[in-house]
């Protein structure tokens, strides 16, 4: 056997050991099974572009249009901070589309002074809930495309498809690189991510203000739409829970955002049936489910508090994580390192807080992460983030 082959095999074996070690840590944390140390999770998205040392310094727009450049930025970030797992490998934004449709038509607008911000969607008319529910692709093509982008040529459509194919290639390449070269487990299989109907209305078609009114003016239509879409989510849940996912931390997951404008009764009607089905199935099959919850979760705690330990992991964004622990003692919690702290405190103060989190939560279902997606330049500082990470990686709690 030649030397390069031996070296390659040695490296693959090393990364296999690393990924197994990390999966073991996450599994112990999620199952309340006394992990050796607290696993760390990165919520870094476009902030890593601000953080890069690559010269000349790329803009957000340049990095989110150039996948070779983005790969370098992601590799640099992984090698600098060495998190155990990541929410994003530079795939949060595909800005190339702006070259075809214009930046003002994008949902995620890139502004190199401020970063990325979302435009309030406003393309769906009041009477169209059913059309979206019946055939989403054809609804997008016949209604949303002409309203939002106007006339497009065959050549422009082909360019949009080419940009999508490049983006898919990049995503697949990064999935392989992170597993095989860095020994990083994947959050979950891409087909295991559920999106309930109201999240589409809230985030893609109606926007916060219209959706808030819709729940009063069109309550019946939305409830019926949710009922129909839930059948698809039930099937997706069954399929996701049957997947063999050896490199994944979780078996199934979802993100909560629309719940932030709902009262409890609305949540129970429009959101809970699909989520309850998924959690019940996950619990029965002894699988692990992740809820990436933005905004608040405490007022919804009654829905989750009776599930057995080891089933649910919930991220904590705006609330105090110790308060969440009191009302949800059965759920693994992700978060704790606040953006405020990373920006305004010294590295030593941040490490002291990280130690407190490890000591108080580490043996009771806890994954350390930043409390929100780091997007903007002032969402973190390198020295505080690195100090916390270096400390936690070397702090054994058992």
């Amino acid at each position: 056997m030649c030397l390069p082959t031996i070296i390659r095999r040695y490296k693959l074996a090393t990364e296999r050991n690393k990924i197994n070690e990390r999966l073991h840590l996450f599994n112990d944390a999620i199952r309340f099974n006394n992990p050796k140390r607290v696993p760390t999770f990165s919520n870094l998205i476009t902030w890593k572009i601000h953080d890069t040392d690559i010269q000349p310094k790329p803009t957000i727009l340049e990095a989110t249009c150039d996948w070779e450049l983005m790969e370098k930025i992601v590799r640099e970030s992984i090698e600098r901070y060495n998190f155990d797992a990541y929410i994003d490998y530079g795939t949060r934004n595909n800005s190339n589309y702006h070259k075809v449709v214009g930046m003002d038509k994008m949902t995620q607008v890139i502004d190199d002074t401020h970063g990325v911000y979302a435009q309030e969607p406003n393309s769906m008319r009041d009477s169209e809930f059913w059309e979206f529910g019946e055939d989403q692709t054809m609804y997008n093509w016949t209604k949303i495309m002409p309203r939002r982008y106007g006339k497009l040529t065959y050549a422009q459509i082909k360019q949009i498809v080419d940009y999508t194919l490049e983006f898919i290639d990049y995503s697949q390449r990064m999935d392989e690189i992170t597993v095989n070269e860095y020994g990083i487990p994947t959050l979950m299989d891409g087909n295991a991510w559920l999106m309930v109907a109201v999240e589409w209305l809230f985030g893609v078609y109606r926007g916060i203000s219209k959706f808030s009114l819709d729940m009063r003016r069109h309550a019946k239509e939305i409830e019926e739409l949710s009922g129909i879409q839930n059948q698809q989510l039930f099937a997706q849940t069954d399929s996701a829970l049957s997947l063999q996912t050896e490199n994944c931390i979780f078996d199934i997951g979802t993100s909560f955002l629309a719940h932030s404008v709902m009262n409890i009764k609305q949540f129970e009607k429009l959101y809970w049936p699909a989520i309850k089905y998924a959690i019940d199935k996950a619990e029965a099959a002894d699988k692990k489910m992740f809820i990436f919850a933005e905004a608040d979760i405490i007022r919804f705690a009654d829905f989750f508090k009776d599930y057995q330990k080891g089933t649910l992991t919930i991220s904590v964004e705006m609330e105090n994580i110790y308060d969440v622990r009191k009302v949800l003692p059965n759920c693994c919690l992700m978060g704790g390192i606040t953006v405020d702290m990373l920006v305004h405190n010294t590295p030593a103060e941040c490490v002291a807080e990280a130690k407190k989190l490890c000591d108080e939560l580490g043996n009771n279902g806890y994954i350390m992460s930043q409390n929100k997606l780091l997007s903007f330049k002032n969402d973190a500082k390198r020295d505080t983030l690195k100090a916390v990470q270096d400390f936690v990686l070397n702090y054994n709690i058992n």
Partner: protein, 41 residues
């Protein structure tokens, strides 16, 4: 044809998919994924 405008109808979708230079069995799926990605991007 490249400079002609697509039609935003069911037939127009099929015609736009047909015009893509990718393998036959993936055309409609890739156009669907691309349009959905664009709308969310």
């Amino acid at each position: 044809m490249d400079n002609e405008y697509v039609e935003y109808t069911v037939e127009g979708f099929k015609k736009a998919a047909e015009a893509l230079g990718i393998s036959e069995d993936q055309k409609e799926m890739m156009l669907s994924i691309s349009i959905n990605s664009l709308i969310m991007a």
